[in-house]
Symmetry: none
Subunit: 144 residues, 2 copies
DNA sequence: CGATGCATCCGGCAATATGCCGGTTGCACC
DNA sequence: GGTGCAACCGGCATATTGCCGGATGCATCG
């Protein structure tokens, strides 16, 4: 009742992408009977591993623009930059990464103008060495 | 046909909480027949308002590694690359972007080895010109 | 005005999926 | 060997789905 084994992981990965799949099809994919599959799923639900099932709703607002700001800093870490980024409501996510880059900043703005302003703000921060802006043209894959 | 009316919004709010609810029950809650409800839902799906249905998974593994793969393609678009990316369960999100880059791929893997393998797979795809891997060292900001 | 097209709704029927249950198997433990 | 248990399977009655024909309201157009 306790382990999350390989089959459970398969179930979770399938359900996290296709939550409305019939139990019978799920059973077919993992090679178990329907009843065994149903039991596993309801165990996962009761154990709280599966918290629920959600429809993934696209953005209702038509005019929003998403973009990535790829930031290289002059020196790391940079608390100041992070604090200032956190101050922008357009900033959705900031990740510190390894390699040439230092920060990947995901933003969501209402217009190209807003993006340009944000870009300028970030580019002129003290510790920012380089900044590449990539506008999201299309969201090709998005999971959980 | 194109409006998202009050009924649609009700449908979305119910489905975003209980994605596996039978269409019949959903119909009962919003006061429409089952077939009309089904039609509305599938319209919302086709219009891309509903992107999919996801199981909401509680805490899974602790030791996962997240990374960005910054991909430059030889030519765009590239259906083949997208299809193959979709085949990797580690791939969480793929965005087509403007600028020097073409794709921003967000991945989540269990180990550095898995990341390297994935990186190699992607790097050797026909249409991939250049690939930069940036491992997420820290998630600094994350907003719903 | 009447005809046409269209979006939306309803209900019905066959096919499919689900809930529930009894029965089997493998395994650990005394 | 006997008992308890977790996990599996299949079957049957019931619920849900996919698919269809048909009704209704409404705008358009000759």
């Amino acid at each position: 009742m306790q382990d999350i084994d390989a089959i459970d992981r398969t179930i979770l990965s399938i359900l996290s992408q296709e939550a409305r799949i019939p139990m019978k099809s799920l059973a077919g994919r993992i090679g178990l009977s329907r009843s065994a599959t149903t039991e596993r799923v309801s165990r996962l639900e009761k154990a709280g591993v599966i918290r629920g099932y959600r429809a993934d709703i696209g953005q209702l607002e038509e005019g929003t623009i998403q973009a990535f700001l790829l930031v290289t800093l002059k020196r790391t870490p940079s608390i100041g930059v992070l604090d200032r980024l956190a101050g922008f409501s357009a900033v959705r996510k900031v990740s510190s990464v390894s390699g040439q880059l230092d920060l990947v900043v995901e933003v969501e703005v209402g217009s190209i103008n807003a993006l340009n302003e944000l870009r300028n703000e970030v580019a002129t921060m003290d510790n920012v060495e380089d900044l590449t802006t990539s506008i999201v043209l299309r969201r090709d894959i998005e999971r959980s």
